[in-house]
Amino acid sequence: MELRLPPRVSPEDFQRASDAFAGVVGKDWVLVEDEDRDAYSDAYAPGPKEQWPPSGAVAPGSVEEVQALVRLANEHRIPLWPVSRGKNLGYGTAAPRLPGAMVLDLGRLNKVLDLDPKLAYAVVEPGVSFFDLFDHIAREKAPLWMSVPGNGWGSVLGNALEHGIGYTPYGLHARNLCGMELVTPTGDLVRTGMGAMDGNHAWHLFPFSFGPTWELAMTQSSLGVVTKAGLWLQPEPESSLELSWDIPKEEDIGWVIDTLAPMKISGLIEQNIFIPSWLGKVVLKGQRKDFWDKPGAIPEWRVQELLDQYKLGYWKVQIRLYGDKAVNEAKAAVIKAAMKRHLAAPPEEVWWHAGDSRSAVDTTMGVPSAIPLQMGDWIGGAGSHMGFSPVVPATSEHVLGQLKRSRKIIADHDIDFYASFTIGGRFANNINMLMFDRTQQAEVDNTKKLFDALIAETAKAGYGEYRTHLGWMDPVMATFDFNDHALRRMNEKVKDALDPNGIIAPGKQGVWPAAYRDLAGARA
């Protein structure tokens, strides 16, 4: 990809800035070749990757280097787009929202700084991947489990900062963050929570600051560059029991939610309950053409044939219990009785006991895997995906309403329906996977139109997205419209105060600094 300069920066200015960055990190860590720009672009972009072009990337090797780079970026007016490992696949990968911004790749900061088996937490840098932390815990023989998302290739911190979710009792990843260190947009260094006191012993244990608490303000945020954070981990249970049901019909999701959500809210079920539709299992069995070789969505009759052939339900419910064996048995009895009121078939039951190995493909046991990314092969060609991810209350009324609405819109665009609901408490995250071949222009155009329609219709019905792709950050922010977009206006005031030159992640989540506000996309 050819060089795309940041706004109002000349080629000479850019060269001077790159030289200055090289003075900090060394020339080998200033990555400004065409091939580098390709590697930091969105490999899964709906359309050409040139839509969200970086000017290059720079990779610091220490916190001091991050501070120095941020100061130089202010001096040279080079906007930076911080990424932890840059594997935010489906949401933009490593690519910046603002064309020509420089990726600040924190992948070299990849140390596990502390691991405390007794109080069950780690302190990690942003470049630590889920695999890295898992391997570290195994080597230390610490009796601790992680919570992992579908893509374990990515960063533990980056995923938590983006509000990623997993499928264990620690599945709300941003909630596991406790005590951060961050570089401010002007290059200062701040520690949050108890860590604001030099040498405080409770930095990664007590989740609040004296005064306003900043950890969550640093998530999906452009207010700082997080350089380390505490992360709470789950103590390894004595045993674990998985109960699995195939749920036959599409509309059964209503009673499933009304049965399980109260048990999640009461604490009887601790994990985030992941309920994928049938296609989630079939995408791993082959390519789409093996099951349906015509264009357009797979018709209902063929779906039913596939469910019969592979003995699948329309939905899969897998509940995992963690803890003492007797407690798990007692909980299982309550859950099975509740499910039996609606479904005669008993669940498949699989026990795990401390000392047993864990499956490489079971995210409910906190084992990282990249296997869910195999769905990229389903479509074939340059298979890509985007996630449409609204949040709904965890009741049948709201879940069925959302299902009906999104199914109709997706069917109207003649695309396969592949959705999941994850019960995280009083709410469910509804992730709709939209798969397409990014080399086929008609498919790309159709997917983009579909995405626009999903956002607009879902907002009209009273629901918003928890996360979105770069290309829709402005439209989604625009749906948060209470009191003339008061949240966005407050975000922008804070942004301008902390980042007067608008250097850190301009446009992130639809928040534009004054310096680049004229470049914002569609605004309400």
């Binding site: 091939e35 590697a39 990337a57 990779a59 696949l89 790749d105 070299r108 047993d356 190995s357 499956s359």
Partner: protein
Amino acid sequence: MNARLTIAPAALGCALLLAACNSDVGKGDTAAPPEGAKGAAGAAAAPPMGPPPYITRDQAPAGNRLAVARDPKAVFQHACGYCHLEAGMGTNLLVKQRIAAGAPPETALLANRDDLTADYVKQVVRQGKNAMPPQTRVDITDAELDEVAKWLAKGK
């Protein structure tokens, strides 16, 4: 890295179907015992059925990532092992491709291939291919990639 890695038929089933299958996967010499595995050396003692175990990657070799002559196998395991060890995402997809190409399924493990050239490895790593996105020079430096490509190409 002399012994040829094997993918047992049951493991091949794992790769294709991700269903419950024989856990006798990854007993080759690059496979560290999975965490908590009972007697990894005793394949015969492994339970007959079970899911594929997690393969712990080698640690990245210490030292300057821009310098040459670091252990390419360890770099490969650390940087490429997310997807390219036994039962990994890339291996699973390559099993299908290799079978379709009439090649033995164990050649889905890149370390088993004898037809890779260093230039081809470098091209795929930097430009991506199908489900594999391009890798940045932070993911794997040029010096690391040169060594890994030479190692996978076995002198070609």
